[in-house]
């Protein structure tokens, strides 16, 4: 078990450096001289610009910048924005609400997705199954922002059931709609995955053996079908957490949430490399941790791979 986790951890190290380097390179190559942009309309003297460049290490070669940056991460120093704010403060403001949103979305997609998926899987080919399949396709096909709009309009404006935007009101009620919108596509995937898994496992040989023992249908369902079917679903959900946090840009935009997505978007537009890279680095770390957790969960759920 330990060697399995250890090996996965080792594999993630190059991934961490590679991904962060990649995004650093992309951002670094963003055109435009951010220093001049700082000066606004007045423009900066060459000397002042030079001073700022030195301060932000912008004059050093790319690789050195990158390594300095990575060094900084390990002491939680993510640098400062061009307006002087420590990036870590910016992130500390933005991450909590996004984490809250992502967890709510995860709960929504897992609970509802699994329930519906199980029912559809058991009654495969029935009316519920066909309906649910078509619905899931539609949810995947319609872009998140359209779903977001429509829901915001109907539920928020027309029927006034939930707050239209979030802003500083980050209560759970206010986040319900955005969570549903954010988790919608994943909900469809969880549903389909569960359905497929349950439907396959129902036909498994060991389910027949369980029935042959005289176990009640309920027990067979619980201990054999569900238990095994949920393994792939659990791994998907684990990996989805990272994806949810990184993909919330649109949702946060529509519902006015000052989270990671919105902050990131602004930073990209303004050409703030440090903020962009920092946020993405944290997202990559979240992704890596989520993947390791998933591997752990998988090993707990499936004894076969514990010694792989």
């Amino acid at each position: 078990m330990l060697r399995y986790v250890g090996r996965r951890l080792l594999q993630m190290i190059p991934v961490f450096f590679g991904a962060t380097l990649l995004i650093y390179a992309l951002v670094f190559l963003m055109p435009g001289d951010p220093v001049q942009a700082l000066g606004g309309d007045r423009g900066l003297t060459e000397a002042a610009a030079e001073k700022i460049r030195q301060e932000y290490n912008l004059d050093k070669p790319f690789i050195v910048q990158y390594l300095l940056y990575i060094k900084g991460i390990f002491v939680l120093d993510f640098g400062t924005t061009f307006s002087g704010q420590p990036v870590i403060d910016v992130m500390a403001r933005a991450f909590p609400v996004t984490i809250k949103l992502a967890i709510m979305a995860l709960l929504f997609e897992s609970i509802l997705g699994i329930i519906f998926g199980v029912i559809a899987g058991i009654r495969r080919g029935g009316i519920f199954d066909s309906t649910v399949l078509v619905l899931s396709l539609i949810v995947i096909a319609v872009p998140t922002f359209v779903i977001g709009f429509v829901l915001q309009f109907l539920v928020g404006v027309k029927w006034g059931l939930l707050p239209v935007t979030v802003g500083s009101n980050t209560s759970i009620t206010a986040l319900i709609m955005p969570a549903v919108v954010l988790g919608a596509v994943s909900f469809a995937y969880v549903l389909r995955l569960t359905r497929q898994s349950v439907s396959e496992n129902l036909r498994a040989d060991y389910v027949r053996t369980a029935r042959a023992k005289g176990m009640s249908g309920f027990n067979v369902m619980n201990r054999h079908v569900l238990r095994n079917s949920l393994i792939p679903v659990a791994t998907f959900l684990g990996a989805d957490l990272g994806a949810l946090m990184g993909g919330a840009i649109v949702t946060e935009g529509i519902f006015g949430i000052n989270g990671v997505g919105g902050t990131l978007y602004q930073a990209i537009l303004k050409g703030e490399p440090t903020t962009v890279v920092s946020i993405v680095t944290v997202l990559v770390i979240v992704y890596i941790i989520a993947n390791l957790l998933v591997d752990l969960i998988y090993a707990v759920l499936d004894p076969r791979i514990r010694y792989a």
Binding site: T209, A210, R211, A212, G214, R304
Partner: protein
């Protein structure tokens, strides 16, 4: 060699435990309704052993599953009745059947790997049976689990109960399944091919054990099997099914010695274990058996070429680096100092159970795997010393037919392309027209219609695909063909057909065969020489007659004794047409 057939004492006026009357079972698919079982009649008495024998598609498993109410998919009993212990249990709902399952009717299913849930411990799965049938109160469950597992022949039961299925060997898993099937002491145990996935020596142990156990408990056993020999050995009443109908049924020995129905006659004639039993009998009586398919039997006297060594293996060894169960590095000697030779124009059988190393040897002979040490000589030349190009040339002379008919032909290739492939790779055979003619010729040789060329593997049955594989192997006019368990996955009649074909081809084309197999009965019929392997080493080798009539080693004797049906007194088969 006579074997003990279970004898039930005289029970006057006893009521049958199970009665199937005119049972009809059908499945609904997208193409319509298919009748899997048409009018089956079966009676089983308490404590009796009955066997249903048939090939795949005969309906034997379907019949058995209907008794316990576990028909797969859309299966349904459409007519007839199932009476169990005087009660009509046809068409009971799942909830109603739950009362019978486990406590009255038990099941030992076929494949030990897929029939155990990989995520639960063995002990837990046994406990489920105890719990579902309220066998013992909760506090005594763990004890009973260990008892039941030990009963089924699992040593160190208490420790084993805490392990997971993947930590068990195939034989151990099967024993666990038997324990589960018998845990609640059912009156009837349905054993669906309970040992077909296992090694032959393990098979015998398990079946012996099952026999003793069920006799002690007074459980009736319904065996489902494709192996006539097994059926005759273990059951007193035999039922033969073909395409959903019962074609013959009655006392097992009687049917085997004197089958009446044409289908049963075919089966009895073709079953390797029975054929081997008859050959042995003939040998003992000094008669030349007509059923031998080996080259030396066909030839008159010994032909000088037959003493030539076409393949010789010297001190062949192969080691693998593997990880043990706890993740530690180990070296596995899959093949350990193996030496033997294959005589030209004859068949040498390389026999062994799983883990014996026979397939690894075959792979080294075919140059698909590098030996760690030792030599493989082909007509005197050491294969390991040849250059890449020379090996390529040599491949034309050494061909192979693999075991799995459903995997050895590329599903994307038409049959024509499959057979043509060797010609294109080695750039022989001339232009397209010439190649087509050659492929047609090859199809003729394996008795397949020429139109098969245009077809695809998924349209052919297992036996037909093997014939294509043989045709492909013949394309380059080889000298030697390695048959790696080439008939093990086939039904009895088809197996016999392929073996006969191979024997004919051997005669016609003067081929040499290296036959890798675990089935000693097939070896008796077809091989001139036998090499017995166990755990990577050679245990014994020699002429077939010598090995079977006078085995020297303990293991060889075990192997021969383990073949189901080999020991039954069947006569010499003169009455079989």
């Amino acid at each position: 060699m006579t074997t003990n057939i279970p004898q039930t004492p005289n029970h006057e006026g006893e009521q049958p435990l199970l009665e199937l009357k005119d049972l009809k079972i059908s499945f609904t698919s997208s193409t319509g309704v298919v009748d899997a079982v048409r009018g089956a009649n079966l009676t089983i008495y308490p404590g009796q052993s009955v066997a249903i024998v048939g090939e795949s598609g005969s309906g034997k498993s379907t019949t058995a599953m209907s008794i316990i109410g576990l028909l797969p998919g859309t299966g349904k009993v459409t007519e007839g009745s199932i009476m169990f212990d005087g009660q009509d249990i046809t068409g009971l709902s799942n909830k109603q059947m739950e009362k019978y399952r486990g406590s009255e009717i038990g099941l030992v299913p076929q494949d030990p790997m897929t029939n155990l849930n990989p995520v639960w411990r063995i002990g837990t799965q046994v406990k489920e049976s105890l719990r579902a049938n309220h066998v013992v109160p909760g506090s005594e469950m763990d004890k009973r689990v260990a008892e039941v597992l030990a009963e089924a022949g699992l040593p160190d039961a208490e420790r084993r109960a805490k392990q997971y299925p993947h930590e068990f060997s195939g034989g151990m898993r099967q024993r666990a399944l038997i324990a589960i099937g018998l845990a609640a002491r059912p009156k009837l145990l349905i054993a669906d091919e309970p040992t077909s996935a296992l090694d032959v020596t393990v098979q015998r142990q398990i079946l012996d054990h099952l026999e003793t156990l069920t006799k002690d408990l007074g459980t009736a056993v319904l065996f489902i099997t494709h192996d006539l020999g097994l059926a005759a050995e273990r059951a007193e009443h035999l039922v033969v099914m073909h395409r959903g109908r019962i074609v013959e049924s009655g006392p097992s020995l009687k049917i085997l010695r004197n089958p009446q129905h044409p289908y049963t006659q075919r089966l009895v004639k073709a079953a390797p274990s029975l054929a081997s039993a008859r050959i042995q009998s003939a040998q003992e009586q000094g008669i030349e058996s007509a059923e031998l398919l080996s080259a030396t039997a066909v030839a008159e006297g010994t032909i000088p070429e037959m003493e030539e060594k076409v393949i010789e293996v010297k001190n062949l060894t192969r080691e693998f680096d593997i990880r043990g169960a706890r993740g530690d590095k180990k070296k596995l000697k899959a093949v350990d100092d193996v030496s033997f030779f294959v005589r030209k124009g004859t068949t040498t059988a390389l026999v062994g159970e799983s883990g014996s190393g026979k397939s690894t040897v075959a792979n080294m002979v075919l140059n698909l795997l590098e030996p760690t040490s030792g030599e493989v000589l082909y007509n005197g030349t050491d294969l390991t010393s040849l250059s890449h190009k020379e090996i390529f040339q040599m491949r034309r002379k050494l061909q192979v037919v693999f075991q799995n008919p459903y995997g050895s032909l590329d599903p994307m290739y038409s049959i024509y392309r499959c057979i043509e492939e060797p010609l294109t790779i080695h750039k022989v055979g001339g232009d397209r027209k010439a190649r087509e003619a050659r492929v047609a010729e090859l199809l003729d040789m394996v008795s397949m219609p020429r139109s098969t060329m245009r077809r695809y593997p998924n349209e052919l049955s297992g036996g037909q695909r093997q014939r294509i594989a043989i045709a492909r192997a013949l394309a380059l006019n080889p000298e030697v063909i390695v048959l790696d368990e080439a008939v093990s996955a086939l039904d009895v009649l088809v197996q016999n057909q392929i073996l006969t074909l191979l024997a004919e081809l051997q005669q016609e084309l003067k081929l040499t065969y290296l036959f890798i197999t675990h089935d000693l009965a097939v070896v008796r019929q077809t091989a001139d020489d036998v090499v017995v392997m166990q755990k990577g080493r050679i245990v014994e080798k020699g002429r077939t007659d010598d090995i079977f009539n006078d085995p020297q080693q303990h293991y060889t004797r075990d192997l021969i004794n383990a073949v189901p049906g080999l020991g039954i007194e069947l006569g010499t088969g003169e009455n079989l047409v």
